[in-house]
Symmetry: D2
Amino acid sequence: MTQETLDRIRKFTEDRDWDQFHTPANLAKSISIEANELLECFQWSDDEYDLEHVKEELADVLVYCRNMLDRLELDEDEIVNRKMDQNERKYPVEKAKGKNEKWDRLD
Amino acid sequence: MTQETLDRIRKFTEDRDWDQFHTPANLAKSISIEANELLECFQWSDDEYDLEHVKEELADVLVYCRNMLDRLELDEDEIVNRKMDQNERKYPVEKAKGKNEKWDRLD
Amino acid sequence: MTQETLDRIRKFTEDRDWDQFHTPANLAKSISIEANELLECFQWSDDEYDLEHVKEELADVLVYCRNMLDRLELDEDEIVNRKMDQNERKYPVEKAKGKNEKWDRLD
Amino acid sequence: MTQETLDRIRKFTEDRDWDQFHTPANLAKSISIEANELLECFQWSDDEYDLEHVKEELADVLVYCRNMLDRLELDEDEIVNRKMDQNERKYPVEKAKGKNEKWDRLD
C-alpha cells in the first residue's frame, strides 16, 4: 500500500472521529464481518462470482486490517515476516508440496 | 508491504505447489477462518488479549488477502482507493462524525 | 432438542459459573468462531471432509446458539417461525424455484 | 424445535428445489455468513443492540444449522450430547469454574 493510500485511510477515520470505535476487539469483529461479506460472493458457487463485488469486500477487509495495524502500532512487514518464519518451519517443502493437509497432519 | 515480503509470500506458495488450492472461493473461506482465529483472541474479553497471538492471526489474514489479490491479479491500492471513494460518499463528515451508525441509518 | 439435552447444556454453564461470560456480544463472537471451525472442515475441498469433525463443530455452533437463546430468553420456534414468515415472503416459490440469487436480485 | 417447525423448514427448501445448493460446504459457508450478520449487531457496541435484528439473524443461523443436520442426516441431540461429553472432560468443574481460559491453558 502506498503512503498516500495509508494517509487517506487514516484521514478518513480522523475526520469522522472514529478512533473511539476502533478498539482492537471491534476491529477484529469488523474484519470477520467483512471477510464474510467477501465469502458471501461465493456462498452458492465457487466459480460464478461478481468480481466487482469481490473487489469491494476484499478492500473492506484490507481497510480494517490497516486500521488494526494502526491501532496496535504494528508494522505489516514485520508481523507478516515473523509469521512466514513460522509457516516455513511448519510446512517444509519436502513434506507439504502439493498437499493441503494442516501441518499437524503432515506425516 | 515491501516487494521483498510480497516475493517471499509468492515463493512460499509456488515452492509448495499450492496455487492449485488457492481458488478465489477457497481463499475467501481462508480469510474468514483466519479472521475468526483473530476474533478468538477477543472471545471473552475486549481488553485482555495476547498481543503476540493477535499479531500472528492478523498476519495470517493479511497473507491470505495477498494471495487473493495475486490470484485475481488485483492492485491493492486501486481496489482500496475505489472503496474509499464509496466510503467517503456514504459517510460524509458532517453526518457521520462521532457516530457509529451504518450509512443507511444516518439521517 | 430434548429437554434433557437442554438441561445438560444449562447445568454445564451453571456448574462452571460461566454465565458471567455469556453476554450476547460474547456469544455472537463465539457462534462466529465455531462456525468458522466448521468452515475449516471445508477449507480446501468441498467434497472431502472429516464427518466426525463436522459433527463436533456443528454441535459447538448449536450449543452457543442455545446459550444465546437462553441468555436472551428467546423461544427457538418463535424466532425461527417469524423468520420463515419473512423468508416465504421474500422468496415466493414461483420466483425463487431452482435459483440461488438473493431475494433483491430475483426479477 | 417442534416437528411442525422442522417440517416447515424442509418444505420451504423442497418447494424451491434448493436441495441442489445445500451441499455441506455451502451450508458451512452460509452458517458463517449468517453468524457474522448476527455479529454485526454487536460490531461497535457490546451493550446497545437491536433485539429484533438479533432474533432474525440468530434464526438464520439456526435454520442453516437445521439444513445441515438434515443434509448430513444427523441427530441434533446425538451430536450435541457427544460434544458435551468432550466438553465435560475438557473443562472439569474444579479447574474451569469461573475461568474463561481455553482448556489447554487451564493448569
